[in-house]
Symmetry: C2
Subunit: 257 residues, 2 copies
């Protein structure tokens, strides 16, 4: 299937997105095709590298729920998410699904060194991404060691996160899983300069369940129990207010930081 098939123009991205509230004020977009300077990887890049990156990037917008890459499809592109939330997932033939991660602005997508993608990526919300043709991207890697080292560090961090997730999936109770998940979202939001206490849940219960290795019912019950114990409230199904983040920490089962 042609790669162009993946690009769909979204109906206008909904309500004033929270990314507008990012604290470090937005630098002017230096690239006509793609706001490369906002990619997290850029922090360690030099101007020449940035320009090269911009030169091969094209901007893509995708509607909520659309598929960005299909598991098993030829890995022709690398993306960097600039707006919205993406979920990565793998499926068993009978339909059971495991979400292996959620991506937020700044995250890379499709950074694989295999012929084909190993997972499916779908837009949870309306999404904007920078797209880089793989061969150009790899050519760039060879020219700019900085970039390569940075990617290695990113991959290493992702591997670490994956190991934490294995611990969660293999050994935590449903309540610990949900508590861990909420805190992860809160921390991630804080890192991105977004409001971190009334947390926004861009994904639905089924996504959360498939991320935590649970069912929607169990997720719902775990939230209810946390609510009953006074740890949080649910102003709306997609918002969680953490009343006692410290107490929640203890319920994750993890070491306290």
């Amino acid at each position: 299937m042609p790669p162009d098939k993946l690009i769909m123009t979204s109906s206008q991205v909904g309500r004033g997105t929270e990314t507008d509230t990012i604290r470090p004020p937005r630098p002017r977009n230096p690239c006509h095709a793609c706001d490369v300077r906002e990619m997290s990887v850029c922090s360690s890049l030099e101007p020449a590298e940035l320009d090269r990156l911009s030169a091969i990037a094209s901007k893509v917008t995708v509607d909520a729920r659309a598929t960005i890459i299909y598991e098993g499809e030829e890995a022709d592109n690398v993306f960097n998410l600039t707006l919205g939330t993406v979920r990565l997932s793998k499926m068993l033939p009978d339909g059971r699904r495991q979400i292996t991660g959620f991506l937020f602005p700044g995250d890379f997508l499709g950074l694989v060194f295999t012929e084909t993608y190993g997972y499916t990526a779908e837009a949870v919300t309306a999404v904007s991404l920078c797209r880089f043709p793989r061969w150009k991207f790899e050519a760039l890697l060879s020219k700019f060691p900085h970039l390569e080292k940075r990617l290695l560090s990113i991959a290493s961090n992702e591997l670490m996160a994956a190991q934490d997730q294995m611990l969660l999936l293999g050994r935590k109770s449903s309540q610990e899983k949900v508590a861990s998940f909420l805190l992860m979202l809160s921390r991630r939001a804080a890192r991105h300069g977004l409001p971190d206490n009334p947390i926004d849940l861009p994904m639905n219960r089924a996504d959360i369940a498939d991320y935590l290795g649970l069912t929607t019912e169990t997720v719902s019950r775990a939230l209810k129990r946390l609510h009953k114990n006074g740890l949080l409230t649910l102003p709306s199904p997609s918002q969680v207010a953490l009343l006692q983040p410290e107490a929640l920490e203890e319920l994750t089962g993890d070491d306290l930081p």
Copy 2:
């Protein structure tokens, strides 16, 4: 704690190791300190790179059950496993453990870009490794882009394996988990030129359980059930003969390859 604390000379490595049966006959060891040429990463290295790698390597042997690196400890070294089996694990404060992976000869260990190790590594069997001081290793990376690219590819593959494992932990039944595990071991042995049908299990049931997110009892029962269904036999607790590998494939829940 000083890094030297980690190095312990093993009592002679036990019985004639199976690695002696590796099919591609061993090249002569080109390095007095460490058989770098046998590292899996070497396949894509140039002679000059190999020599540099050898120059900073020192050989380390570790007794079975000894700890090689501790989670949280300063990440001072990078290792490459040359002989034996290593387990990587993370623990929750109350003692629950998740094994995030088993390492076999050729695998890297301690390849992180953080201050400290994110997991504990322990020798399952007697083990030999090449040790590289981190700072020297990183200096080498900067000089040899080949090496860097190779590591990026390794990290990318590990990430993929981690995602498969998340699918297993989050969505597979105990039987599917055990079937997947056995086939993984068999395939890995085959890739290394080792006997792949009467599989050797260097790790005990507790390790298998902690890798699959189960208990030893459940692992045992799953094996029993597979045995009862004529899929395998257990010549000894640490050996599994696969009688119908194809049928086992179907029980993994995965797509058939």
